[in-house]
Symmetry: C2
Subunit: 252 residues, 2 copies
């Protein structure tokens, strides 16, 4: 295996669970001899991909990774604009917001916007949700045709919770609902006590799609609040969409 793949594997270790790595952690997680782990981590540090925490022997991602990640947002007008729209809604309502993408059959948050309410959903970026078992995921799936969705989950689905659709057919029912209303609501499905509302947008030029998503403590919002959020999300999505549509008119 090329060292690049090993390096990528190391970066993949960092996630919701794990924020720092030692040589031995790496040995366990990647199953490589520790001589290699030692050299790999050092090489990555020398390259700027990792940095050592203080003068300890623990590693975490380096600023290089940070800079590149920031550039990601920039590279995609879609993500950039979506992030802006969500940020606006997030500050207006005080609730936490996300922009997410579909990665294979999972949903990954791309940017997060922590809310300001004292009781808010703590930003849980890095955590991957199943596409079929989350409101955000279904918002994105609804952009596909039923056949495409069936193909994607040809191996069957494992519902993450009782409240999630239990079969492909149930998923498709929910998707039909999403397509009809334009929004995807999920009540305490992925996280107990947390409601979420998502709207998907597609960039007509690149085919890329993201979901705008607002999450809030179920106890904190009335039906009316939900309606407000829904409107804001739809408006936000419309703005993003309009901005992207305009762009295709401009010479590139």
């Amino acid at each position: 295996m090329s060292i690049l793949n090993s390096a990528a594997a190391v970066l993949r270790c960092f996630g919701a669970e794990c924020t720092e790595l030692t040589v031995m952690d790496t040995v366990e997680k990647l199953g490589i001899p520790k001589s290699n782990a030692s050299r790999l981590l050092r090489a990555m540090r020398d390259a700027g991909l990792l940095e050592t925490i203080g003068k300890t022997k623990r590693f975490r991602p380096g600023v290089l990774v940070l800079d590149a990640a920031i550039s990601y947002r920039r590279s995609s007008s879609l993500v950039e604009r979506a992030a802006e729209a969500v940020a606006k809604i997030s500050t207006a309502t005080g609730h936490t917001g996300y922009v997410s993408k579909l990665i294979d059959t999972e949903v990954a948050a791309v940017t997060d916007h922590p809310g300001t309410h004292s009781l808010r959903v703590v930003s849980n970026i890095g955590r991957r949700l199943t596409a079929h078992g989350s409101g955000t995921g279904r918002a994105l799936l609804a952009l596909l045709s039923d056949d495409e969705v069936r193909a994607l989950f040809a191996d069957g689905i494992v519902p993450p919770s009782d409240l999630s659709p239990q079969s492909i057919d149930e998923v498709l029912e929910r998707l039909a609902e999403v397509r009809r209303t334009g929004v995807s609501f999920s009540a305490q499905e992925s996280t107990r006590g947390v409601d979420a509302l998502s709207v998907a947008v597609r960039d007509p030029e690149t085919g890329e799609a993201v979901a705008l998503c607002i999450v809030w403590p179920a106890a904190l919002a009335t039906e009316e609040d939900r309606k407000t959020i829904e409107t804001m999300l739809l408006d936000g999505a419309a703005e993003v969409s309009a901005a992207l549509g305009d762009r295709t008119l401009r010479k590139r």
Copy 2:
């Protein structure tokens, strides 16, 4: 040179200026034969470090990089808390804010918090400033001793602007001022028309240091506003510091 370094060099290309790369771009920027550039980019994509934009031949950082970057924030309570403090000030004042770190002799922004004023300083993360020639940099340098600073710039300094200190001695004068007041002010130094105010915080446990920084259009803030921002920054830094201090009492 190891492929890891090449990969890092590629990631380094992504920044304020450049959000996507082609094979030829890479050839130019890294000065490598195009056969290598082609294979390098593909290998990085296969590893998840990059992704192709749609079905074009252009590359940008991949989600893997994104996830790792998110984990970075988490890995450092200092950065996490500092980001929170700056975010609060940023939303309160409407001005753009940063959290920055010293990387060798340069300052790199670690998180950004775009302001909400219609006239605001656009978030310019990814751009590196010289430590001696920026308010944020001097806030961080002020944590070092004069001797350490001299050692750091043993090769002499190149002032980035007329308004910046022109010699090490001038830098040290400014640092003394920063140490006295606790804040570092920079008037239109790094960017014309933009004032900035920074305060540094150090994590007593790890020795890591970051600067909280607020920037605003010089035309937009009165002397009084400046005072307000200064107070908020000092308070924010104090909170961060207190939170970190508490932590050392807790068993780890």
